[in-house]
Amino acid sequence: MAQRPQDNLAPLHLHVPEPKFRPGDKADFSDVVVPPVDAIARPDEAVKPADIHSLAYGLVRVLGDDDQATGSWNPGLDADKLRLILRKMLTLRAFDDRMFRAQRQGKTSFYMKSFGEEATSVATTMALQRDDMCFPSYRQQGILVTRDYQLIDMMNQIYSNRGDKLKGRQLPIMYSAKDYGFFSVSGNLTTQYPQAVGWAMASASRGDTRIAAVWCGDGSTAEGDFHSALTFAAVYNAPVIFQVVNNQWAISSFSGFAGSERTTFAARAIGYGIAGLRVDGNDVLAVYAAMEWAANRARTNNGPTLIEYFTYRGEGHSTSDDPNAYRPAEEYAEWPLGDPVDRLKGHLIALGEWDEERHSALATELSDEVKAIQKEAEKNGILGHGLHHSFETMFEDVFEDMPWHLKEQCEQVLEEQRDKFGSEWKAQ
């Protein structure tokens, strides 16, 4: 480069974020600040966003190291409700284990576990009304489990078999269940954010009472859709709850590549003038309390809230990556906020409402139940073994009415199958 008059100035340098630990390093999270329970008290739900900026930088916690629930955020759930949440999280964990294994056995193409962040889909859904609308990203299967969607229907979707309600069209885990308030999952990131705002605006404009809740990950807050959504929600005071599941990793990229070296994800709310909460995502009661606070706020026309759940992705991104290639294997064990299931279990035991024997019996019961359902689902077929929906279904639902060119192509695919399998072949 040519000499310039400014050449006596110190050179600029480009900062490229680097996670603190890579494979081979010892994970040490001692610098993660974990404030005491109730460090910032629960404000009134009608509070002005400008008055609670500190909550976007703090960490809402209810369960202490002594396994007791205390403080102003304690939602005061009874033991039956706590056991129900535990049951749902254990069901989800058992389901994830079986389906991950099914992919490894070649029974389907893809799977994603929610291990370590189960509270952020189960406890949140528990705090919503049954008819509130959820706009999930790809790791919130816990919403369906919590709303009692049939596990066999989830498995049929994962196997893309003849029982799949989505007709084998979608990649595994990209469920859709309108009757369960569960929006169709996209493979593209954060597209659901402005859609949730639109749903919430429609609900408000019709004088409805239902609100919308939307989830995304830390990494996908970088997408433009995220920022468009927050702008619209602020402008129209939409009854929507934005949730960022900050599980530290976006495939191999740590949260620093979404800006976490500079500020919290909850603090994104501040620039838009909406309420922001940062929450211990592995504390079931804190997650429930934050969602309940935000839901009450939205339902009383006090506007949107952005909640960051500070948690950890306990497994790889999906069956397609090996996390040991980019982070130390023992990170999850070192995570300072523990495991959401273990912490809820510990709390119930501390209350005298649970014990190790009942816990392991429940885990075994749910694992057996999931295995039995899996056997049933596999009767409908596994991916690539012929028990799929009919070839005609490939051309249905592109439009409400099938245009001539798709009818032609549909006829063509049937002829191709006859060519392939001989004259005895019949359309299913």
Partner: protein, 345 residues
């Protein structure tokens, strides 16, 4: 064009990696950026080892925003660098479309050459890996329709490296689509047979150093007299396998660059054979095949002995369980060859 330099057996991923490695060595202005391309080396391993060798300010991870990735590429190019952004799957390129269509493609034109955009956007595309509708699309015709962008699609490791180097050295924006189904071997469309590794294919002998394959030049991968087949990417290998299986004397042209198109090679071939088939995996309607058919009939109409045949994916989203019924594989091709060879017109 074959270099005299020593060659090494490479698969498609290794050849693409080598192209970036060579260019990072040769030109300090080259930078590689994208989701997971740094330490991890890319979800398909295309950038493996590059950050370690060339440093974090030249090969780096980015936030997950395709608009941002391509937009900063435009800005880096305006500064004078040669950015090589990766979009992890072609299906994810749409949020970056405004930066490509309205900005990168028109920078030279709107500034009368004051600013240019020598950027190469790499992206894996196409199906055949059970990726469902968001990991399988072939959106190449969207880009050939934009004035000011070159669109390149390699079909062998040798071509991939030479074309990628030429794309990076080109002073205009290039969209470089990599057929992910053939990253590790030349898939023939017979999905129930084992895939041969690249090492058994002549296209895997790749020079270790710098060489270029000029953009806008097609490759005649099989000479023949009976019918001309225009294709690119994965479908080159599927067509070759079907032609061999059925003993068809087809002339197979791998376009390699869709825009600018090597019309001379196409015209000469169709005038020779009198028949033309266009094959792509992308959906049929308004696909690149429509442009090819129009070009051929404009130039070769009086030489044609049969209507131009198009063999494509169907006009539906890419299905998951019915992937092989959707994919334009051997059965669809065989039927099309039957039709075009028997046509009495």
């Amino acid at each position: 064009m074959m270099s005299e330099a020593p060659t090494k057996t490479m698969n498609m991923i290794e050849a693409i990696n080598s192209a970036m490695d060579v260019m990072l060595d040769r030109d300090p202005g080259v930078v590689v950026l994208g989701e997971d391309v740094g330490y991890f080396g890319g979800v398909f391993r295309a950038t493996a080892g590059l950050q370690k060798k060339h440093g974090k300010t030249r090969v780096f991870d980015t936030p997950i925003t395709e608009c941002g990735i391509i937009g900063v590429g435009v800005g880096m190019a305006a500064y004078g660098l040669r950015p090589v952004p990766e979009i992890q799957f072609a299906d994810y390129i749409y949020p970056g479309l405004d930066q490509l269509v309205s900005e990168a493609a028109r920078m030279r034109y709107r500034s009368a050459g004051d600013f240019i955009c020598p950027m190469t956007v790499r992206s894996p595309f196409g199906g055949g890996i059970f990726g469902g509708q968001t990991h399988s699309q072939s959106p190449e015709s969207l880009f050939t329709h934009i004035c000011g962008i070159k669109t390149v699609i390699p079909a062998t490791p040798y071509d991939a490296k030479g074309l990628l180097i030429a794309a990076i050295e080109d002073n205009d924006p290039v969209v470089f689509f990599e057929p992910k189904r053939i990253y590790n071997g030349p898939f023939t469309g017979y999905y129930d047979r084992p895939v041969e590794p690249w090492s058994k294919h002549e296209g895997s002998a790749v020079p270790e150093g710098h060489y270029r394959i000029e953009l806008g030049k097609a490759s005649v991968v099989r000479e023949g007299q009976a019918v001309t087949v225009l294709t690119y990417g994965t479908m080159v290998h599927v067509v070759k396998a079907v032609v061999a299986e059925h003993g068809i004397d087809a002339e197979i042209i791998d376009l390699r660059t869709l825009l600018p198109l090597d019309i001379e090679t196409i015209e000469a071939s169709v005038k020779k054979t009198g028949r033309c088939m266009v094959v792509h995996e992308a959906t049929r309607t308004s696909g690149f095949g429509a442009e090819l058919a129009a070009q051929v009939q404009e130039r070769c109409f009086y030489h044609l002995e049969a209507p131009i045949e198009r063999v494509t994916g169907f006009d539906t989203p890419y299905p998951h369980s019915l992937e092989w019924a959707y994919f334009p594989g051997p059965v669809r091709l065989a039927r099309a060859f039957d039709k075009i060879m028997k046509d009495p017109s």
